[in-house]
């Protein structure tokens, strides 16, 4: 297939994007842009404290004349700026750790499902072991050994969350591997790598994508939990999780601290899940051209 025919088939594929999906894509693009531009558009330094302006409600006008649109937190920091800066951290951690765990999990699952035998036993027993250890405990242990940090957090999340992808990829591979079109490829002379990438992967991508979008939201929440325990992003760097975990203590007096990062999180996870669902349908040729 030449590049030209590929691009026409792609544009045909995405030509009629339903309105809700367009809205969702717009939300995601806006969030990514806001996160990326945080240093330029944030009204204040996210870690500048003003103890005279602690726990002020949204719309409060400070002494220096700046308006705190989202209110302030327990140390008098501008919540809007903290949410903007935190977006980058939360998005980055979630996206990267989902990519890491998908790559690791899906490869292992396909290998286990395709080669069977002792490879399957080793990988799937490892999955059982990983799933029986509480993920947070494992993350705590790993961070305790490696120390905290953005990339380490990504690695910890990525390397503890792969078993779910492995289970799904393994089961799907087992199903697909017995279909006649896989046998036909074997008879055509295709090797394991070609069969796995050309025939198995595209046919198991749908369920994997669904797991990945569900995990994306979970990653943000796990990051929040780890940050809350002091094992994730270190203060004063804000992340949605750490803002919310602090805000939890003040929720009766200052509901806005939890509300704004929570709403952002809700829209992000909701959008990703909707988009993932739609993408899965789009990637299935059977649901097109009808």
């Amino acid at each position: 297939m030449t590049l030209a025919t590929l691009s026409t088939s792609l544009s045909a594929r995405f030509r009629r994007i339903p309105l809700p999906i367009l809205a969702v894509i717009a939300i995601l693009i806006t969030m990514v842009l806001l996160a990326a531009l945080a240093p330029w558009i944030a009204p204040a330094d996210p870690s500048r404290q003003d103890l005279f302006a602690r726990l002020k409600p949204p719309g409060f006008v400070g002494r220096s004349g700046i308006t705190y649109w989202f209110g302030t937190d327990d140390l008098g920091r501008d919540l809007l700026s903290r949410v903007l800066y935190g977006a980058g951290v939360s998005l980055g951690v979630a996206l990267l750790s989902v990519i890491v765990s998908t790559l690791v999990g899906v490869s292992l699952g396909m290998i286990a499902g395709w080669f069977r035998g002792w490879v399957e036993v080793v990988i799937m027993r490892l999955v059982d072991i990983m799933m029986s250890i509480p993920a947070v405990l494992l993350a705590v242990l790993t961070v305790a050994v490696l120390g905290p940090g953005f990339l380490k957090l990504v690695l910890v999340l990525g390397l503890t969350r792969w078993p779910r992808y492995t289970r799904v990829a393994y089961g799907q591979t087992l199903q697909v591997a017995n279909l006649p079109f896989i046998k036909a490829s074997e008879l055509a002379g295709a090797g394991a790598a070609r069969i796995l990438f050309h025939h198995v992967l595209p046919n198991i991508a749908g369920p994997v994508l669904v797991v990945a979008t569900a995990e994306f939201g979970l990653m943000i929440l796990t990051e929040a939990g780890l940050s809350f325990l002091g094992l994730g992003i270190q203060p004063p760097t804000p992340s949605w999780g750490s803002i919310m975990s602090v805000g939890r203590e003040y929720v009766e007096r200052a509901w806005w601290i939890v509300l704004f990062p929570g709403l952002s999180l809700f829209f992000l996870v909701f959008s990703v899940n909707l988009l993932g669902d739609w993408l899965r349908d789009q990637l299935d040729p059977r649901s097109r051209t009808r």
Partner: protein, 325 residues
């Protein structure tokens, strides 16, 4: 014995599976799916393999194309031994045998265009690329009665019959000497069966390919085959030329199969003597001693449960494994 006109020579091939049952797989058993069969197929010949479900037809065809390994015996394809061959040698032999599967809906990758499906064997074997590949695909599509511009479409955009044409095109892409057809029309509408069968016949006339035609539909077998092999519980029980086979079936199991074929004329149908087998096909993990068929055979006597009858030649050229015919 390596007559170059034989595209397939199998000798005493047996395929067994190890099964386990019970807690922790403590009780083991062996499923003897194919149990010492020998068969030659000449170039351009069509041989039918018939028998009921579970008799080992599919296992035998998978073994011939190399998806399954025999525990003993020899399989030669165009004079070259497959059993024990490895690496490139095996790959070179393999391309001479291809397979057409029963359900065309499952034998094409729903995520690949049909052009990509037909191209795969040519790409993997490094036979053609670029423009040459394109024209090769176009030619194959035309040969099976489709249009070259269909190459960019996906399998779900075709009907069952058209998909089976695509499967045939892919099987023929490597110009094989033998194509194993595993019930190629049984999943299709009756109205398109004849078209597909005629296509197979026409392609055989042009390319000289041999077919091993696995089926349980005797009317299809009668239409297309030169020779018929009847299989029961992993062994051949009767081998005969088509005309001999249909005019004078000998083995009691064959007779039972034939009497199960409905007759179009109701008066004839009513007057016919129906031979109805009692009981189920015994499990291939527990094959009866002696003649495997004796548990269901109307002619069975004492010797049948003790001594297994060998395939022996008869005056009309057929070979039958039975003590009583």
């Amino acid at each position: 014995m390596s007559d170059t006109h034989q595209v397939l020579e199998i000798r005493d091939v047996a395929v067994h599976f190890n099964g386990r049952s019970g807690l922790f797989g403590r009780s083991q058993f062996v499923v003897k799916a194919v149990n010492g069969v020998s068969l030659d197929i000449a170039a351009g010949e069509t041989v039918a393999l018939v028998g009921e479900s579970g008799c080992g037809k599919s296992t035998l065809s998978n073994t011939i194309v190399g998806l399954q390994q025999p525990v003993e015996g020899s399989i030669r394809i165009a004079g070259e031994e497959v059993v024990g061959a490895r690496g490139k040698a095996l790959n070179d032999i393999r391309r001479k045998v291809q397979m057409i599967f029963q359900d065309p809906a499952l034998s094409l990758d729903p995520r690949s265009t049909i052009g990509a499906a037909i191209a795969e064997p040519l790409i993997v074997r490094g036979i053609a690329r670029g423009e040459a590949l394109k024209s090769r695909i176009a030619k194959l599509l035309t040969e099976v009665g489709l249009r070259p511009e269909h190459a960019d479409r996906y399998p779900h955009q075709f009907s069952g019959g058209q998909r089976q044409r695509v499967v045939i095109a892919r099987a023929l892409a490597l110009e094989p000497a033998l194509v194993v057809c595993d019930e190629p029309v049984s999943a299709l509408d009756v109205s398109v069966r004849a078209q597909i069968l005629n296509l197979l016949v026409a392609l055989q006339k042009r390319t000289g390919v041999a077919y091993l035609f696995v089926s349980h539909d005797l009317s299809v077998v009668r239409h297309i085959c030169d020779r018929v092999v009847v299989m029961y519980l992993g062994r051949f029980v009767e081998i005969a030329d088509r005309d001999t086979f249909f005019a004078n079936p000998k083995h009691p199991y064959t007779k039972a199969l034939m009497s199960a074929v409905p007759e179009a004329d109701p008066r004839l149908q009513r007057s016919r003597e129906r031979l109805i087998l009692t009981g189920e096909l015994p499990s291939p993990s527990n094959i009866p001693p002696g003649c495997a068929f004796h548990t269901r055979c109307p002619l069975a006597t004492e010797i049948c449960s003790r001594v297994r009858p060998e395939l022996t030649s008869r005056a009309d050229g057929s070979t039958v494994a039975c003590h009583h015919v």
